[in-house]
């Protein structure tokens, strides 16, 4: 237990360093954008002309000082939600995000109801 305590303390002390490196930021963003002319590839993974111009556009937006979410919003407005691989939580996606979790809870409930557990 002592080890665990020490470990937890160390864990809390270490600050979360944030990387401001544009290259990393760009990769992260382009991985979440769909290459619209490809078949199931992200902008990051694709080398098509479309994807390459998108990469340049993302770089430009980053230089302009837009945040990650602002860039997503920019693309969403331009191309629709289809372009984002990480669909946000909104009225269209409540079921998508919450149904699996509900199923998990429901599964647990069924197990507890059908089976009797004892120590």
């Amino acid at each position: 237990m002592k080890n665990l305590k020490i470990f937890l303390i160390i864990l809390l002390i270490i600050p979360n360093l944030s990387f401001a490196d544009n290259q990393l930021e760009r990769n992260k963003i382009t991985k979440n954008l769909r290459c619209l002319i490809c078949q199931g590839q992200s902008v990051y993974d694709s080398d098509s002309d479309f994807a390459n111009s998108m990469k340049i556009l993302v770089d430009k937006k980053l230089e302009e000082g837009l945040s990650e979410n602002e860039i997503y919003d920019f693309f969403k407005e331009k191309y629709g939600e289809w372009i984002l691989y990480d669909p946000g939580l909104n009225k269209n996606t409540y079921i998508l995000w919450l149904l699996p979790l509900l199923i998990f809870l429901l599964g647990g409930a069924i197990i507890m109801k059908k089976l009797r557990f004892k120590n």
């Binding site: 991985k31 993974d45 080398d47 269209n92 089976l115």
Partner: protein
């Protein structure tokens, strides 16, 4: 010409023998003292017809008979012989014929090898399997005939999609299909056993072998597809949560769940309903996959042709099968007695139920993530994409308790047990956390999440390693599989954490340099191959430690159809892969160069092989 005609009539004969088989099986089912020899012979005959038909199609491809529409659409005279042959199943019609071949093969083997089960059970399984087979025959003949005649006969074919011209992809479909279609036997057999009220421990033992067979082939099939995507699609990834990948993962998850749950049925005669539901679900999910891929609803390299008629047929067929199984389940299956099932918290049963609970959750994530966008598009015509971030967010947090349970579960005994070695188990957990922390803190990336995730994987790793020594050969197959899984998760996590890449544009003679690496484009060679022109770029790559590697990625400009593909050059070593791929930058003499260092790639493949090895060994083990 002649091959197509033979192939076509063989298909019709196969359909006829299927119908006769159903008739004889019903007769035999009513009067079931001995198994009618006709059933086995007819089943063999049916298999023979499908084999003839399949060879008819292969030969049409080999001789480039363009009077056959399938050959015309998917082949070309300049294509190498090997890809003419594999092109047979590289298209919609041919792949369905292959599907049919495996269906008929499996029922024949089932009849041949099942000796210790009742005649009623064997005939009933045959009936259900033949319903599926006849359905596929009709589907093939009605909507996707591989032997359509073209007149006037075209001079030249349209060619096979070049990215499908690849050795891994040549064997990927047959292996995958053996897995998909293997689950049809589980489906038919579960329905037969339910009808006859014989879902029992001995049935569980009997069907476990079939479950293992499907599971092994499906695992290997997915592995091959993944390896192919890694080196051929040119982005260095191996899993993209693409709908078509998901479609193969869903039956895999269901099969893996079944494989665990069937052990409980074998030992304790509980969870009968659940085993039946899973058996039905596994094949239904395989069929759903076929529907999604073949109907053209999904946008992917696997979608050979978009034809609503085909989608509609499979959809109706699927509903018939689901309706039939639900009817049988609710009509014939009575929950075993009314006494509720008592379990001890600390027991192998409970651990397996926990596994099933999580597996079903993972399955529901994949299913909903794959199907929901289609659903939303239909009802509100709004298009959304569901990609890797969605799956990672919903799966990764649940993976942590799952991995820990996977380590502790096998320590428990059936019925009731005490954890004897609590101290060691806790000690190993602390060691895992400490090691992960020390490793992860060097990377400054999501420290907390990565530490927890990696430590749970390390935990499973250490415990399975310990089990190899303490348990020796007891349950060694299970341990190999779990060990392989821990290795897979660790390799994926470290691969993700340690990969680095360079993307740049270079022309001949230019170089790129950063603190870690120098990339020089020395020269390019152009050569003319049989059905494509090749451009090979020769790179010299100097790592920070002065090591020099020569790498030569290639661009292939295919003539028919005219498509450019890039062939990555990959230097695989034990600890890391070096991956380089080039692309043309339009109207310029520059190449777009993407170089990646990918640690532990080899381990990802090896660990999947390892856990399928667990399955293979378990299949061949002698009864204890």
């Amino acid at each position: 010409m002649i091959y197509s005609v033979v192939g076509y009539y063989a298909l019709i004969l196969g359909l006829i023998s299927g119908s006769i088989l159903i008739y004889f099986s019903i007769q035999n089912f009513r009067n079931s003292e001995i198994l009618d020899a006709k059933i086995l012979s007819l089943s063999f005959l049916q298999l023979l017809f499908v084999v003839i038909s399949f060879f008819g199609l292969i030969l049409s491809f080999v001789v480039s008979d363009f009077s056959n529409e399938t050959v015309f659409n998917n082949s070309h005279t300049t294509k190498p012989l090997f890809y003419k042959i594999t092109g047979t199943w590289g298209n919609h019609e041919g792949s369905l014929l292959l599907w049919l071949l495996v269906l008929t093969l499996f029922i024949f083997i089932f009849l041949l090898r099942t000796n210790n089960q009742s005649i009623k059970y064997k005939t009933l399984t045959t009936i259900f399997q033949q319903i599926i087979i006849v359905g596929f025959f009709i589907f093939l003949l009605k909507t996707s005939n591989p032997f359509n005649y073209l007149f006037p006969i075209p001079e030249e074919g349209l060619g096979l999609n070049p990215i499908l011209q690849d050795p891994a992809l040549a064997i990927h479909p047959p292996i995958l299909y053996l897995g998909y279609v293997g689950s049809s036997i589980i489906f038919s057999s579960a329905l037969a056993a339910t009808t006859l009220k014989m879902v029992s421990g001995s049935w569980a033992t009997h069907i476990k072998k079939w479950t293992l067979v499907s599971w092994i082939f499906l695992t290997l099939g997915i592995l091959l597809g993944s390896i192919w995507a890694y080196y051929e699609l040119g982005w260095g990834g191996f899993w993209f949560w693409d709908p078509v990948e998901n479609v193969s993962l869903m039956p895999w998850l269901a099969l893996t769940t079944l494989l665990h749950c069937i052990l409980v049925l074998e030992k304790k005669l509980i969870l009968t309903s659940w085993v039946i539901i899973l058996s039905i679900a596994t094949f239904t999910l395989s069929m759903c996959g076929t529907f999604l891929v073949r109907s053209g609803i999904l946008n992917s390299v696997h979608t050979f042709a978009n034809d609503p008629e085909r989608g509609l047929f499979i959809l109706i067929f699927l509903f018939v099968l689901i309706f039939m199984s639900l009817f049988i389940f609710f009509f014939f299956h009575k929950e075993d007695q009314n006494n509720s099932i008592n379990l001890f918290w600390l027991s192998k049963e409970s651990a397996i139920i926990l596994n099933n609970w999580f597996m079903m959750y993972f399955l529901s994530v994949v299913l909903i993530g794959t199907v929901y966008p289609i659903f939303l598009d239909v009802i509100s015509s709004e298009k959304i994409s569901v990609g890797p971030p969605f799956y990672h967010k919903l799966i990764v947090p649940f993976l942590i308790p799952f991995l820990i349970a996977m380590a502790i579960g096998p320590q428990l005994k059936w019925i009731k047990s005490n954890l004897d070695s609590k101290k060691i188990l806790i000690f190993l957990l602390l060691v895992s956390i400490l090691i992960s922390y020390l490793v992860v803190k060097n990377f400054n990336k999501n420290l907390l999440v990565n530490t927890i995730l990696i430590s749970s994987a390390f935990y499973l790793f250490f415990i399975t390693v310990r089990d190899f020594f303490t348990k020796k050969f007891k349950n060694v197959y299970q341990n190999i599989a779990h060990f392989g899984f821990s290795l897979l998760i660790l390799s994926i996590l470290f691969n993700n954490l340690l990969s680095s890449e360079v993307i740049t544009n270079l022309k001949v003679g230019e170089s790129y340099e950063n603190s870690k690496i120098k990339i020089i484009l020395e020269d390019i060679n152009q050569t003319e191959e049989k059905n494509y022109n090749s451009v090979v770029a020769n790179f010299k790559i100097i790592s920070s430690n002065g090591k020099i590697n020569k790498m030569s990625p290639e661009l292939r400009i295919y003539n028919q159809p005219s498509i450019v593909t890039s062939e990555a050059d990959i230097k695989t070593s034990l600890m890391k892969d070096k991956f380089i791929v080039i692309n043309l930058v339009q109207n310029q003499e520059y190449f777009n160069v993407r170089y990646q260092d990918k640690p532990f790639m080899l381990w990802i493949w090896l660990s999947v092989l390892l856990f399928s090895m667990g399955g293979i060994l378990s299949f061949f083990k002698k009864k204890i």
